[in-house]
């Protein structure tokens, strides 16, 4: 009983703020107080008439897309390397790919900023994308490591044995087997990048992404517009994560390693 109440309390604590945001996004008056006097779509209409907001949204979308693509490619390469490395090599690869997850975003932001200025790279969309990749890759590698541990190396040998070259084996066997996990991780990277704020704040230079735009709006006045934007972003992120989970579930249905069979 106590346990159940605790769970409900925690859920309420997590969900009530979100529910409030959604609720107030439909509020006709700009105040944030109860009782709500009327409902309207005016804040949503405003979103689409704010050119700055549109541009921030567009940038965030592109940054997230690029982050997802680059993370996918790097993840695929790292996975292939992982399959071919011995125990020591795997450990090194894991340390390189996974440690950034332990760094607080603040330090990661500072260090990436320092790195960019040392190397002499202009802060831009590119630096934002690169730092998002640094954030997303560890998450992907953790998921991939679990998947790859199940990968039966005999499958690649069987393919070679049946007459397929190394390249063909990659296309016909390795990639189809690791792709579902890679794709679902790439989709998650998209979600991660889309609302990333802390690291972005350090490396964005003059660029304004959606989370940063929301932040700057908040500093001026707390407008209900933010509720509408947040609601949309939330719906969008939930959709993305659902897609990722669906892909992962599909993987489980069809792509068990042959080891699970015998």
């Amino acid at each position: 009983m106590i346990l159940r109440i605790t769970v409900y309390l925690i859920l309420a604590f997590l969900l009530i703020p979100l529910a409030l945001i959604v609720l107030f996004s439909f509020n006709a008056s700009p105040s944030f107080t109860f009782p709500i006097t009327g409902y309207s779509m005016r804040w949503y209409a405003q979103i689409f008439s704010d050119p700055q907001l549109g541009s921030a949204l567009w940038k965030s979308f592109w940054i997230a897309t690029l982050t997802a693509i680059i993370t996918f490619l790097l993840g695929a390469a790292a996975s292939l390397a992982w399959l071919r490395l011995g125990r020591k090599g795997r450990t090194v690869l894991e340390i390189l790919c996974i440690t950034p997850i332990a760094l607080p975003g603040l330090f990661l932001g500072v260090s990436l900023l320092v790195l960019a200025s040392q190397v002499g790279v202009q802060l831009s969309m590119i630096t934002i994308v690169l730092s998002h990749v640094v954030l997303a890759l560890p998450m992907l590698m953790i998921a991939m490591r679990a998947r790859l541990a199940l990968f039966d190396p005999n499958l690649e040998e069987a393919s070679r044995d049946l007459g397929a070259s190394q390249v063909l084996t990659f296309r016909r066997v390795t990639l189809p087997l690791i792709a579902p996990t890679l794709i679902s991780c790439a989709v998650l990277s998209f979600a991660l990048s889309f609302d990333e704020f802390v690291v972005t704040a350090f490396v964005s230079g003059t660029e304004t992404t959606l989370p940063m735009y929301i932040w700057s709006m908040m500093r001026r006045t707390v407008t209900p517009l933010i509720n509408a934007i947040s609601t949309l972003a939330m719906v969008f992120t939930i959709a993305i994560i659902s897609i990722a989970l669906a892909i992962a579930a599909m993987k489980r249905a069809t792509n068990l390693s042959s080891r699970d069979v015998a």
Partner: protein
């Protein structure tokens, strides 16, 4: 006819560990040869060398008369059935079997024809659309066999293909394997550490111990004429006596141990006075209540009787203290000794094999 596989002075080392040493073996077209030996003796390593996943450290390997040292696995006329099948989990039964033909760019119609035909041979044609995760162990095994055989390999390598199956299916699959071998005419090289499987299946058995070939023979010859203690003990059960070779008054060789002197039919020359061992199969031994007044009879006491229906297994201790085992047919109406009975253990001259007591095996 030239051999389909010929390995000459083959050696394989992993770092400083010698996995295979001085391997000389030649296998004829159409044979079923089993590689038999205890775990870790190098059977899989030898198969992987044939398939091209490992290369010899020294020595030469010819397949179908051609040196294949620089030929990658995909270019060799051999196919392998992996111990855990290694079927492609993202493809269905049909696509698994079709894989080899498709990557070789064979036309759609021919692929369908050949795959269907092969699935019929392994009796899996009714499950073409099934995914691999939905198959039983025995069915996986058939698909793995079909996937390899559909390519028409000159040599089919099978690495303990039945190890994952239970006894009943295993016996059934052994018969199937013989039928499929007859139907396809390919050379089968079959790895197992199960002596029964090796004896049922093979034309010749290659017995391996610690990376070295110990004996190559037909199952009958290997069972009846082992060339060393290791062979004698690895195939079937046997009683081992330790002693020396002596010459008796008439100049005939005899084997003398603590139990007495035994006559035997010499199959290999062992110098007089040298240490030797005598191997006597349990089924060569007869038990007598009275002293039969024959050669090779020693008194013993029954310590245990294991009744298994058509046969009984007797555990005995000779008066000299040697533990012996006998296997006796249970003919109806005959009195059989019981635990504690005094008996005479006896075997014919040709019921034993005398081997040099070499320390190596």
């Amino acid at each position: 006819m030239s051999p389909i596989i010929e390995i000459t002075d083959g050696n394989k080392a992993f770092g400083s560990f010698k996995a295979l040493q001085d391997i000389n073996l030649s296998i004829a077209q159409g044979e079923i040869v089993t590689l038999l030996g205890p775990s870790g003796c190098g059977k899989t390593t030898l198969m992987r060398i044939f398939a091209g996943f490992e290369s010899l450290t020294s020595g030469s390997l010819k397949i179908d008369g051609k040196d294949v040292s620089n030929l990658p696995p995909e270019k060799r006329p051999v196919n392998m059935v992996f111990q855990r099948y290694a079927l492609f989990p993202h493809l269905d039964v049909f696509e698994n079997v079709a894989y080899g033909l498709k990557v070789k760019g064979i036309g759609k119609d021919e692929v369908r024809e050949r795959v269907r035909n092969m699935l019929r041979i392994v009796q899996m044609d009714h499950l073409q659309q099934r995914f691999i995760t939905e198959l039983s162990g025995g069915q996986c095994q058939r698909v793995a066999l079909a996937r390899a055989l559909v390519n028409g390999p000159k040599v089919l390598l099978l690495d303990e293909p039945l190890a994952a199956l239970d006894l009943k299916i295993r016996q059934h699959m052994l018969t199937e394997m013989k039928r499929i071998h007859a139907e396809t005419g390919a050379t089968f090289i079959y790895v197992t550490h199960d002596q029964d499987e090796a004896m049922i299946l093979s034309d010749r058995v290659v017995l391996i111990d610690r990376g070295q070939i110990v004996q190559v023979d037909t199952p009958q010859d290997m069972y009846n004429r082992p060339n060393c203690l290791f062979s004698a003990k690895f195939l079937g059960e046997t009683n081992i006596l330790h002693g020396t070779i002596v010459e008796d008054a008439s100049g005939k060789s005899a084997f003398r141990s603590a139990e007495g002197s035994f006559h035997y039919q010499p199959t290999n020359q062992i110098a007089s006075k040298s240490a030797a061992i005598m191997s006597v199969r349990p089924e060569a031994i007869s038990l007598f209540a009275e002293n039969p007044a024959r050669d090779n009879a020693i008194p013993a006491t029954v310590t245990d009787v294991l009744f298994t229906g058509s046969r009984s297994f007797y555990h005995l201790v000779s008066d000299g203290g040697e533990a012996l085992r006998a296997q006796v047919q249970n003919t109806p109406g005959l009195n059989r000794p019981n635990v504690g009975d005094r008996v005479h253990v006896c075997w014919p001259h040709d019921g034993s094999v005398v081997l040099p007591a070499s320390p190596s095996h």
